[in-house]
Symmetry: C2
Subunit: 220 residues, 2 copies
DNA sequence: TCTTATTTTTAGCCTTACCTAAAACCCTAA
DNA sequence: TTAGGGTTTTAGGTAAGGCTAAAAATAAGA
């Protein structure tokens, strides 16, 4: 059973919204994600249900099936491999690659993806730090480090905080850090463990060891 | 004015059939080339006429316009650059690349093509020996050499014969050479200028200097 | 020139993927 | 337990790109 480009895109959206195939997803949410109308989504959900990549009960939203999850992960794999190609080989900036990868991910050729993977040296993460599923759909999550565990000159991306109190999040917001921010360790002060951090390649931030220990990042 | 994937494919077919935008092309010929029905072609010709990439007079076939020629050459450029990528970088065989390139050529990103061109070191010919138009649509035809002018170990492709008498073409056919054949010069005999030539990577052919001088090839 | 054969176009219908408007359904609060 | 209100589906329509069957235009032969 092959999927059209539109079907692949819907399936990918449903996979993302369902938090890795765990939660069920509403028609409205899919419509928002796909920037389309709920009526169009209903149509498409019926089709995807017929193809058994989702379980669809009218009025009750959808759950992705095992087969659907596998298909979604294949598409995500292709997307992320192309992103690596664009950044590593064609010198694209990491924020320029998404739209092009969105087109490239629909090219149908298992051989192409196999060869591309080898050519890129079997990368495990894309330029945004997101993991690349293997050809069976297995994802190896990248280990998270607290910022104070990172070394000077290492780069990464903030993915979570340990203490998610409103106060701490407010502090983060004030200094211009946020979940998803790209960071680089510029300096670590031996004496008190405080750090100097470059955020989004433009803003420099000073933080105490305690603050740094509260912020989790993945390396890139 | 943007073209859909289908429109790009029709335009490319019309360009090829019109021998580089010189001859006019019939509905039936386009239908045969596109493996579709004449009725579908009529529809599409009206659309392409509206977009002014062809000149369409009902019942009298079409001529490609200057704008159409430019568009067709852009698509051909993208197709051939991707073919080079697949062969040079991803180790595809030269006869495995066409279908995948047929998909890749429709990716819309001028930056991608520009970067790909640079990455491949501005190739002038694709793996089949066909010239790659530059970004303005200019094509530099590859100089043709008679086989006896080629050196040992050089590879190429037969593109024409000087003497196109039936007798000579019949002889070529008998020995298994043909327009389009991939060849490699294995040996040249100093004494009489006769040559040993590998055809399509499998058949070895001996020919006199006179015969070799009658066959034109491009180098690859 | 007239008739026939061939080519091309039109007419009408299908599928995919979208849309709007209206109907149906689910849920909650009075 | 029923009336809204929000969500979701259905009904019907559009555009792209295909199809078949039939009509129309061109070309060719007597």
């Amino acid at each position: 059973m092959t999927l059209t480009t539109a079907e692949e895109n819907y399936l990918k959206a449903i996979y993302h919204l369902s938090d890795g195939a765990t939660k069920s997803v509403s028609t409205n949410d899919v419509a928002a994600e796909m920037k389309t109308k709920p009526a169009s989504v209903s149509d498409m959900l019926r089709k995807l249900g017929d193809k058994e990549v989702i379980e669809y009960r009218k009025y009750y939203g959808v759950n992705i099936t095992e087969e659907g999850k596998k298909r979604a992960l294949q598409t995500i794999r292709k997307h992320r491999l192309w992103e690596v190609f664009l950044v590593d080989k064609l010198q694209f900036a990491w924020d320029e690659v998404h739209e092009v990868a969105e087109e490239l991910e629909h090219i149908q050729s298992p051989l192409l993806i196999q060869r591309l993977d080898a050519y890129l040296n079997y990368p495990k993460f894309d330029p945004h730090g997101d993991p690349i599923p293997d050809e069976y759909g297995d994802v190896r999550a990248r280990p998270r480090l607290a910022l104070n565990e990172m070394d000077v000159d290492q780069s990464g991306q903030i993915v979570a905080v340990k203490d998610s109190s409103a106060a701490f999040l407010k502090y983060l917001d004030k200094v211009g850090a946020y979940i998803g921010a790209r960071i680089k360790i510029l300096d670590k002060v031996e004496f008190d463990g405080s750090m100097e951090i470059l955020v989004d390649q433009k803003k420099t931030l000073f933080m105490s060891k305690d603050v740094a220990a509260n912020i989790l990042a993945i390396q890139s």
